[in-house]
């Protein structure tokens, strides 16, 4: 982006503002799902559906920040590769750590 014309900058700013708006709306929706009774999804109280919606919105918001603000939508291949591996390892870490609660042998014994 060595050439940076005013027209291009206006385009950029427009995109940033749109994302700004989306992020604010997303935040409102998350809080609404958590707090407003008639928006309570699924079973009463905080249920799996509530968590999922909250996390889904968070992921969308985070992707917007990463793609538009951090310019990941038109980044170079090397950066994608690095971040892809990182995300992969981060998820592997989380899931394998959490899965160590899962014990099929114990379940087989206690379910009878």
């Amino acid at each position: 982006m060595s050439e940076f014309t005013p027209a291009e900058s206006r385009k950029h700013v427009k995109a940033y503002m749109a994302v700004f708006l989306a992020l604010i709306v997303g935040t409102f929706v998350t809080v609404a799902v958590a707090m407003i009774p008639w928006l309570d999804l699924g079973e009463p109280g905080k249920s799996f559906l509530d968590y999922s919606v909250g996390l889904l919105i968070a992921i969308v918001k985070a992707s917007l920040v990463a793609l538009i603000f951090m310019h990941l939508n038109h980044e170079k291949g090397m950066i994608y590769k690095i971040m892809l591996f990182t995300m992969c390892f981060a998820f592997v870490m989380m899931f394998l750590i959490v899965f160590s609660w899962w014990n099929p042998i114990q379940e087989a014994f206690t379910s009878h």
Binding site: G77, M78, K81, F89, V92, N103, P104
Partner: protein, 643 residues
């Protein structure tokens, strides 16, 4: 260096930015700037190397004291029990259980985090990597300096903790909670205990490694010289790239664990403290609800990639030395590159094979067994390729080659004895025995350390312009090889007999295990050593311990050689004394700040030895093609990376 950046832009990051333009009336920076707070990657590499060698010596010393306690429990330690400072630690000149624990914990910590990783990654990586890819320096020279000083600070903190009233950390190098959380709580100030200082020092060491890793990867991605495409990079650089990623991505979880344990100790949280914990018969006053398993997960998420951080640089050094001394190309260079990448990837998925007996779920343990067995495939590819490289070569057995050759079987023994440990049911029996000790020490001590020694002998002429003495080199190598095996081979036998690794009396308290017969009464050896009585398992302790002390003596020729050769060694007659092919041998000896006198260009792959039809048996990367002496077209040389 580069036409794009030669316009006078900013010199914020390059401290000596104007050197290029004022080469003729260039004056040396002051001593402290040149050798102490230097931003030159070569000086930093040497700083790393010397500091790491000192820490290796310290770790070795701790081990020798421990070996005394194991071989001769209840007897005063010779020599050091008379040192006034040391008498504080020893009880009537004998090693106490506390001291043994402390030395055991610090031996592991110092050897791994302060000795081998800084020597392999910090010293060799720093010195060699930019030279091999034809870069003038690291991408961020000041960051490089910061990472050395952060390492030194961490090391000094770790060392200083010996002098605290509580002594240094004593909960093992793995620092498992809740033991590590509750150790030394009775000392007046919780902050000034070895256990807390260990965590603090680790935070510095981790920061150092992270900065280093960022720097290395950036350098390798962006600072390769003209023509240095990905597949023309020497294998050493590939290994450094993968090692960099391992450090970058594996260390942060340990930092998390260290911060949480620091919170547990200093702020009274219960991350790793389960509900209802009793310590020394007293209810441990904490909220509870935490999980010791979590600590182990976070620790070993670092811990296993760390194993490859230890071994990859050594494999890479051996991979440089063997083609050079067999005068043959590295066999299966591409396969090795892909293998090392797969190895790096898989090493993140195997960590919990250290944790089979923690009570984590059987489902997850099945997964880890499978991946652990898988990871042996790329390891074997690496070793096999190196082995095949030697086939049919006319081998020059100089000192670096001796060490490099010995590395292969030693690492092989260490690696293959690890396979049984990958299965949880065998691990139940062998966990925490001397078998495990022998297994990973074979990988790290005669394995990695031999690789690193080979590297020192190999690159010494580049740093000093003088070769190290071959005679002293042989005197160093052969006893080292003998005694290394003398230490660790008996441990396999003892481990399978059931000797536990953390007994300060070497297992004497467990008579059933200790008294098992190793050689029957009346056999030849028993007549020599024990007046014809049967040699029992516990007698092997003495074999290992005596070997350990002899190994210390075997290092004397190396130390003499190192210092003597610096000033008195045989001078090299060219910049390329080993007739090697990679770029570091094209720059002056020793390389000046900025490394290359003219812009380096890589014209071919890194291991062009004995090319058919060539005049000599090596064709360096930096030599233009004799057929067409003019430089190849620009596009041909331009790096085709980036994908």
């Amino acid at each position: 260096m580069n036409p794009q950046s030669s316009t006078d832009l900013s010199h914020e990051t390059a401290v000596h930015g104007h050197d290029d333009h004022h080469e003729e009336h260039h004056h040396d920076p002051p001593f402290w700037r040149k050798y102490v707070f230097s931003t030159d990657h070569k000086v930093i590499g040497i700083q790393y190397g010397i500091t790491a060698l000192l820490f290796l010596a310290l770790g070795f010393f701790l081990m020798m004291v421990m070996r005394w306690s194991i071989a001769y429990p209840g007897r005063p330690v010779p020599f050091i029990s008379h040192l006034p400072w040391f008498r504080v630690w020893l009880e009537n000149g004998m090693v106490t259980g506390d001291l043994y624990n402390m030395f055991g914990a610090m031996h592991g910590t110092i050897m791994i985090f302060l000795g081998i990783v800084p020597l392999a990654f910090g010293a060799f990586g720093n010195y060699v990597t930019p030279l091999q890819i034809g870069a003038p320096d690291m991408a961020f020279p000041r960051l490089n300096m910061a990472s050395y000083w952060s390492y030194l600070l961490g090391g000094v903190l770790m060392f200083a903790s010996f002098f605290l009233p509580s002594g240094a950390a004593k909960a093992g190098w793995t620092n498992y909670s809740p033991l590590a959380t509750t150790t030394d709580l009775s000392f007046g100030s919780l902050f000034w205990t070895g256990q807390t200082q260990w965590l603090l020092a680790m935070v510095f060491l981790i920061s150092s490694s992270l900065l280093g890793a960022v720097n290395f990867i950036t350098t390798i991605i962006n600072l390769r010289c003209k023509g240095m495409t990905w597949m023309r990079m020497p294998f050493f650089v590939w290994a450094m790239l993968v090692t960099g990623f391992l450090l970058l991505l594996a260390f942060p979880p340990l930092e998390v664990a260290a911060i949480m344990q620091l919170m547990d100790r200093m702020a009274g949280t219960s991350f790793f403290v389960p509900s209802g914990l009793f310590v020394n018969g007293q209810f441990f006053n904490a909220a509870g609800g935490g999980s010791p398993l979590l600590y182990q997960h976070l620790f070993w998420f670092l811990g296993h990639p760390e194993v490859y951080v230890l071994i990859l640089p050594a494999i890479a050094i051996v991979g440089e030395i063997i083609p050079n001394n067999t005068r043959k190309p590295l066999w299966g260079y591409k396969t090795m590159v892909y293998a090392v990448m797969v190895l790096g990837f898989l090493s993140f998925l195997v960590w919990a094979h250290h944790m089979y007996i923690t009570g984590m779920g059987a489902g997850v343990s099945t997964f880890f067994q499978t991946v652990t067995v898988l990871i042996s495939v790329p390891s074997v590819i690496l070793i096999t390729s190196i082995l095949i490289s030697m086939w049919g070569g006319s081998i020059r057995f100089n000192t670096p080659m001796l060490f490099a050759t010995a590395f292969i079987p030693m690492f092989g023994i260490g690696g293959l004895t690890g396979l049984p440990l990958a299965f949880s049911m065998i691990d139940l029996h062998l966990h925490d025995t001397y078998y495990v000790i022998a297994h990973f020490h074979y990988v790290v001590a005669p394995g990695t350390l031999f690789g690193l020694f080979a590297g020192i002998y190999f690159w010494f002429p580049k740093q000093t312009g003088r070769r190290m003495s071959e005679l002293l080199g042989h005197l160093h190598f052969w006893p080292s090889l003998l005694f290394m095996n003398g230490i660790f081979a008996p441990m396999f036998i003892q481990g399978m007999a059931g000797f536990h690794r953390r007994a300060s009396d070497g297992g004497a308290a467990y008579e059933r295990i200790a008294g098992q017969e190793f050689l029957e009464a009346g056999s030849f050896l028993s007549k020599i050593f024990k007046n014809g009585e049967a040699i029992t398992m516990i007698d092997l302790n003495i074999v290992a311990s005596v070997s350990a002390w002899c190994l210390a003596i075997a290092q004397v020729p190396f130390i003499i050689n190192f210092f003597w050769s610096m000033t008195k060694g045989k001078k090299v007659n060219s910049n390329n004394p080993w007739d090697a092919t990679t770029l570091e041998w094209s720059c002056p000896t020793p390389p000046p700040h900025g490394n290359f006198l003219k812009e380096p260009v890589a014209y071919r792959g890194p291991y062009e030895y004995s090319v058919p039809g060539a005049e000599r048996d090596f064709t360096p990367q930096f030599e233009p093609d004799p057929e067409s002496p003019q430089a190849p077209a620009e596009e041909e040389l331009e790096v085709k990376g980036g994908h």
